[in-house]
Amino acid sequence: MELSKTPDVIVIGSGAGGASVAYGLVSQGAEVLLLEAGPWFEPVEDYPQDSAGWERRSFPVKEGSQASITFGDLGVLDTADRDLMRWSDVAGREHPQMGQQRLPYAGGYSHVMGVGGSTLHYVGEAHRLHPEAFRFQTLTGQGADWPISYDDLEPYYTQVEHLMGVAGTDAGPARWQSAGFALPPHPMSTGAQVLMQSGDGWVVNPRAVNSEAYDERPACNYCGQCSRGCPLGDKASVDVTLLRRALDSGRLTLMADAHVTRLVLGAGGRVSHLDVVHQGAERRIEAPQVVLAAGAVNTPRLLLASASAAQPNGVANGSGQVGRHFMETLRWESAGLVQGLRKSHMGLPSDATDWGFAVPNAIEGLAGGFKLSHTTLDTGLGGPIGYATRMVPGFGAAWKAQMRAHFGSALSVAAIGQVVADERSKVVLDAAQVDRFGVPVAQIHSVLTQNSLGLLRAMQSETRAALAAAGADLADETSSWDEFIATHVFGTARMAARAEDGVVNGGGQSFDHENLWISDASVFPTSGAGEAPSLTIMALGLRMADAILG
């Protein structure tokens, strides 16, 4: 593909961060070239939820849609912490890995490489961070402060909520809004209703899913399968929202299967060129302004892999901070069966939330907090395979009858918590493995700290309490204690007020190279207390577009 226009800005990666900055730029008249390593996904063809066997099909894997990533130190499953071990009525309470290394979740690094990035299989929870989250270090003495405040980001939060069609009532405690959400809230599933009746804290969870037709996209029909990919397009992944609009403008050129393999520096410390392999052909593209938006694992990888004699530690790494402060997903989930609950497999995933602990100092003696969500549908309890393999033990005729009797009565609550970055947790280049283009692959090291273990125990206690209040008999618990999870990852090219503390400034601009910007989850100095990150990533992207255009 030859470029017919000279772009003003090149964006690398088309996920939440890349799509938002690209949209912000083209909507103000700039010409943008977007280079995406992964393929296009066609919702109707690629997310077939309309035939038998749907429960066995997770988000599709296409050629080039999974990053090659290796894992280093993920910590050891210490017997002393076995109270945090996963168990279920079906699988029992044995753990084959006890005393050995924690393993990654079977899907490995679960982010999608494709046009739309990980928003293709995200659930679409749309959260603003708590205003105090931006002052985490000041309030807790740990982690870092953000160089920007909630007030700086608020207008952009509002803009994204309207671009994506966020549905809900309000953004949650302390998260003031200059305008209401674009859409009214969704109806609550029966599981959410049980939680709301049983505890004061449960409220409507803001969701980037159409509760009515909006933005040329239909209303949700509550199939409950968002993370398998939404075939209707009512879930606001960025391919059907920001990128569609940006392409409609005629000012966005989007190249899929375009792998940026190196940032090349020129005179004056500017990024002068990008080395790209597009559909198998190597090319070097001149760089005007460059926005790196490859996600919290591949962004540090590309910066580190672009090392040269002049920059032996990699690009944008004058501070030595690239790859450090990696924050994984701290998660605890409890599920059970509630007598009398019916049809809990119908509705919108993550429709209700409890913000009660989602502040930086929610738990005495610990730094950070967590957020609870109703997750019956997100976690595979929408079909009989989920029940058979997690909730209803046994076999034979009597067990089949039990399966029918219980189906529709599962209830699950999950907590996602803060991770305070630790020296041992980082993304580095794997010294022994390169990808098909000869670039070293990223290696993730991530270890649970005492603070994380303390938070996991608090999360365990609260999810159990929520289920007990709802009358559930506990049947299954899983957590990131025994399985490394990477749904929300952050921190490896963090923003900071001073060049020595971070990789980019509060606007996302590199301290070292004035035409290099970073727009993805890697710039988060802290993870937040379990809020889903995409809305913040996108608000930062829109804000960056304004900064680039001056």
């Binding site: 099909r57 490995g108 199939c223 409950g224 497999h345 079909g383 009989p384 029918r404 189906f407």
Partner: protein
């Protein structure tokens, strides 16, 4: 079966086989008749849905098992154990005894052959069985969530 589900199964099978070298293994084919009996004990016919073997669950199961050495070896061990534990071949035992043996395996240590084999067998059989439209007859479910979805009201 999706790649991720397959990886999860292999991860389950693997720790039990530490030290096992697939290159040296001789794989006896895992018999379809034996598997057919096992899946029917787990998922027998009832008033609303057929037995697992009527939906060819054992055939699909055999295909998956034989496509991966670690799973094949786990099944080989598991089936040998079943053939020994009752004093004569499992298929020759009365059904009540067969059920008793499976009950024992279902409670057994996950880190030993009987427990691990039964857990993996049951998981795979359920995974295949409940993916068939006939198996969910009588459940408050459509064959697939789309295109209708589940519009409210729900209560």
């Amino acid at each position: 079966m999706s790649l991720n589900r397959r990886k999860a199964l292999i991860t389950m099978a693997a720790p039990f086989l530490v030290g096992f070298d697939p290159a040296e293994a001789q794989f006896a084919p895992v018999g379809q008749r034996f598997l057919g009996k096992l899946v029917d004990l787990i998922l027998p016919q009832d008033a609303q849905s057929p037995a697992a073997s009527a939906l060819f669950v054992h055939v699909e199961l055999q295909e998956v098992v034989q496509s991966h050495e670690l799973l094949a070896r786990l099944f080989e061990y598991g089936l040998s154990w079943l053939d020994q534990v009752g004093g004569r071949p499992f298929l020759d035992l009365p059904e009540a005894v067969q059920i008793e043996i499976l009950q024992f395996a279902s409670q057994a240590d996950f880190n030993q052959v009987p427990g691990r084999f039964f857990a993996v067998l049951r998981l795979m059989a359920c995974d295949i069985y409940f993916s068939k439209a006939e198996a969910i007859e009588g459940y408050p479910l459509q064959v697939a969530p789309q295109p209708e979805g589940y519009p409210p009201p729900w209560s």
